[in-house]
Symmetry: C2
Subunit: 616 residues, 2 copies
């Protein structure tokens, strides 16, 4: 599938945008007219630069407000169009996007639209220009793709076809299935955009909140299937107006965009394989579409390993050994493995620096990450050390693929500590329940796509949690069976400043236990410091749930928090924060499926109170 | 009028919020339950602290989802309510906010609502608690104030009354006029919120985008008049859910909130004075409601006065003299006075640091600023120097009040330079057209209220301008006759970082001339460096407007930009940027009333291109 992206998606100058698109690996770009207009580069320079970079100049856009006007206005519009066709000739471009009239149309008459557009098509033909006509969702008279298709049929000129944009179709709730009935060769161009499910006026939604495929709520894989059925074999491009992308690093955004198209192709190819249908559009499937079966480990980077080790010991973890080559320790309890790494830790009090997942075929996982343009983590293998393919997430977390067999191998790299099992008879912690990562606002959507595509996780509905420094937006990604769960939190801007100054917005590793009361008691006996929970919380808990007095007293005694859903109960506690991280311990009773969201504000406020965060 | 504010409006801990509200001068607060719940302070401590600060604990809020439920649910709800009434007794609070049921109501029957609410009222009476019932705009069955008022009449208990919230009424487009028919003593509490005009689902709009009165689009002055007609004499409070306020400095937000209530009182008092009606609510009018007649001066702070002076000389300004006591120069052309100040300029290459306006009575202007809690600029007057009342705006711009007579006085403080008029026969620049100030995102709404209330300016509709680093949101404020115009620009977050690192987001002073072509020619002859305009811009201009070839050639020759509206034409140019600022020169032909907004992206891109801004 030939990929393209509109320059309006990206930040920076036209030159910077072209370099970034080329570097990411796009086949071509759409030139957003204003980007050219404000550029000091002449059209000839743009053309020559695109040639050098091997970037197609796929679409010149947008031309606006043409049809449905008075005769005098039509002449002015033709004059305006001719100047653009001449400019396109200088650029060596042959396809222009024409949006349905939003502003100047005064006459609602399909015959008139057709007659005027035919004049435009004939003028364009003289310049070798083809026109892709797009129904904007807020077009004055033409605002559905079905209507624009009737117009295109009426114009009936070989250089006049359709442009389809998923946003304009799906934002209205229109059914994309009729795309399959349009002959593919009359679809001149396709633009894809995803978007979060928002209820707001379509124009604002479109201008500010579009997302790359896989970052929002649109069923773009199905959209692609309808397109395949039409016989379309052309370019699939991204046209995303997003306030954050416009402010972000242009090279990263370009990679993020191309990743979204690679992921979407693969999703659509998966659907298509089921249908046994032929596709003129070559849809490349990604390798390694496999379900993670468990967390392999979580890694804490710290310049002071003793303090992290001390917390793990308090939680009943056993020291499993020192790595034979690196200043790295392994601690374990049940299936929970925690690596304490003091490489590259200067100035890092403690931080969640990475994690691994177990998959059936780690090599295929690595190939998938590479196909998705993820940055590899450089890692030496020497003397039969186990290779673990690893990638750097947008938030700089390191993510590794292992398998149960590989895990047994890498565990052997740690010199046996010869230590007995932990003091309690049965290990208190059974495994890693979830990992909670903070995301700077610039990379939240990028991270969502990275983790969901590279790790093949599902997006759950998002939530928002109040904190003393602003709302924290939270997004859970997980495997279908919940074996691996990640919570991504977008950090409010006030907090982000706090991070920059003091590296204190805490991330955490949540550990799973079958008996949290027992575990909390023994941890306390071993000197664990808990995050204090205010007395007011327990009074409110008593008013909200009819808890028996015994349970309430235990919760209060041990600083445990409590939640309940339709299925069951959730008990959890937090350790105090160390540097940039802390541990949570959770007990899920009878199929409770959440994360104690109602308690998150209590945690954030208590962490704020305990002066771990800087004040403005 | 007794003022209050909900703690949910503010950032920080409950303790910090209470301190900030007391310091700003609020009479009381609403305790948002969650703020108490996450606080380590006991209810008794909160009560004692409020006593010490002299802050009323006016409203405990919210109690939710009570009425319209099954009998079993009712008993659970009464149990939950009783715990809260006991808590209120410990807090010494007697008024609770009850929101109409959003979630758990299953039976739509007013008689049932009334019967269940009467049980609640009777339970509350035993604890000395009064209930203020509020119709939420998204309430399941009760969602208008008219409906909640019928319910209150039905319940018919002395401790059961109404809470009115302007957001819930005006966001639905409901007519607030019927408030006047409600007996004031049955309105137990009033919450005010403004909001921008947005078309989105009311719940999201309410949760994220509420604003203090005067920052949005609601006609709250008229809302207040309806309230006055009801005979209401109680507390007027602010309940604002706003993502930015939640992240901002708590003390500043508290002052911003109280300023909004002072401004609103005064606006309502003005409307009321016209009607000759009595008000049980004491509405204090602000002093000094006068129209500014002109800019008095603009002030540039710089550690390198020669470079600014050089630009002014190139623009035809004359050096008027050095201040007799301070390292401050005055330059003038026509009615445009520019002060170059090198006090407190260490590290400041050049920045727009302040401006003055002329008003009929500067003393009254100063009294108005003080009443509006504006921070005074400390300024020495010695040896008969003219006093100019001055205030520090939220963006740290210094704003002064003068009058034509006072201006003649302060001009005399500058030692006569004995210089001839500028070289051209007639002064090229006639006056200051507008001043364009950058606003960090945290203080945009605060600045809008500050400038509009302290300087008595009108808000115009906002616009958005694309730049290579993101969208710049722009808001014009001006006098009715356009003598004084300010443009506030909210700086995208990417740019804000650029500012922090390099102080390079440029602000500007726009100067007015009657003959821009002549002025540009002579400035060029004197060596002025213009901001370069790309050739592509002029080609697009030719396609958009049918300009004659002569004019187009002149525009291109002199780096002039062009725009046209229904009234007339606009020609303008920009100087190159110096430090953090530049000058614009504008010629308005035949009543053109805008600011060349279509050209702003060209300017921003050219400034970005010329490497004045740092790259990420």
């Amino acid at each position: 599938m030939r990929t393209s992206i509109a320059t309006v998606c990206l930040s920076g100058t036209l030159e910077e945008k072209m370099l970034a698109c080329s570097k990411a690996g796009f086949d071509g770009i759409e030139i957003f007219e204003q980007d050219l207009l404000v550029s000091p580069m002449s059209p000839e320079e743009v053309r020559a630069m695109a040639d050098r970079l091997g970037l197609g100049l796929d679409l010149f856009q947008p031309f606006r407000d043409f049809e449905g006007v008075t005769e005098a206005q039509l002449q002015a519009n033709l004059h305006r169009a001719e100047a653009k066709f001449q400019l396109m000739n200088r650029l060596g471009m042959d396809l222009v996007l024409l949006c349905s009239n939003v502003a100047t149309a005064t006459i609602d008459n399909d015959e008139l639209f057709i007659a005027q557009l035919r004049q435009l098509a004939e003028l364009a033909a003289g310049y070798g220009v083809r026109i892709a006509y797009e129904a904007l969702a807020w077009g004055k008279y033409v605002n559905t793709y079905q209507h624009s298709w009737r117009i295109v049929q009426g114009v009936d000129r070989p250089n006049f076809g359709l442009c389809l944009d998923s946003f304009h179709i799906l934002s209205r709730g229109d059914d994309p299935a009729q795309i399959a009935q349009i002959p593919g060769e009359k679809i001149f161009f396709v633009q894809l955009a995803d978007a979060p499910v928002l209820s707001m006026d379509i124009l604002s939604w479109s201008r500010h909140y579009r997302l790359f495929p896989g970052q929002g709520g649109f069923a773009l894989d199905e959209f692609m299937l309808h397109l395949v059925r039409s016989g379309y074999a052309g370019i699939v491009s991204l046209e995303i107006f997003n306030d954050v992308f416009r402010q972000s690093n242009v090279e990263r955004t370009a990679i993020d965009g191309l990743r979204s198209l690679k992921w979407l192709q693969s999703q659509a190819a998966g659907l298509l394989a089921g249908s046994g249908q032929h596709s003129a559009l070559e849809l490349e499937a990604l390798p390694g579409a496999q379900e993670a079966t468990a967390f392999d480990f979580a890694e804490i980077r710290t310049e002071d390993p003793e303090r992290v080790a001390g917390m793990l010991a308090q939680l009943g973890f056993a020291f499993k050994g020192q790595h034979r080559r690196k200043p790295v320790q392994l601690w374990a309890s049940g299936e929970a493995r925690i690596i304490i790494n003091s490489q590259r830790s200067r100035g890092v009090e403690a931080a969640v620096s990475g994690f691994g997942v177990q998959v059936p075929d780690p090599g295929a996982g690595g190939a998938r990450g590479t196909s998705l343009l993820a940055t590899k983590v450089p890692r030496q293998q020497t003397h039969h050390e186990q290779e673990l393919p690893g990638f750097l997430a947008p938030d700089e977390t390191e993510v590794f693929f292992s398998s149960p067999a590989n895990t047994r191998n890498w565990e052997r790299e740690f010199l046996d500590a010869g230590e007995a099992a932990p003091e309690t008879g049965n290990p208190a912690v059974d495994g890693i329940d979830h990992i909670n990562l903070a995301q700077p606002w610039q990379c939240f959507d990028e991270s969502v796509l990275f983790y969901s595509s590279v790790l093949n996780l599902e997006m759950m509905p998002g939530t928002e949690v109040p904190s003393p420094m602003g709302l924290v937006r939270s997004q859970v990604l997980r495997t279908a069976d919940s074996c691996v769960r990640l919570a991504l939190n977008i950090v409010p801007q006030g907090l982000e400043k706090a991070i920059e100054r003091h590296h204190e917005y805490p991330e955490h590793v949540a550990l799973r236990t079958g008996d949290i009361v027992q575990l909390a008691r023994s941890a306390r006996a071993r000197g664990m410091e808990f995050l204090p929970v205010p007395a007011n919380y327990y009074e409110d808990l008593a008013a909200r749930f009819e808890l028996d007095g015994q349970l309430l007293a235990t919760l209060k005694e041990l600083n445990l928090l409590y939640d309940r859903d339709e299925q069951g109960e959730f008990l959890h506690f937090y350790t105090k924060t160390l540097g940039n991280m802390f541990f949570e311990v959770v007990e899920r009773r009878a199929g409770y499926d959440g994360y104690g969201a109602p308690n998150a504000p209590v945690r954030l406020a208590a962490q704020f109170e305990s002066n771990r965060w800087s004040r403005n």
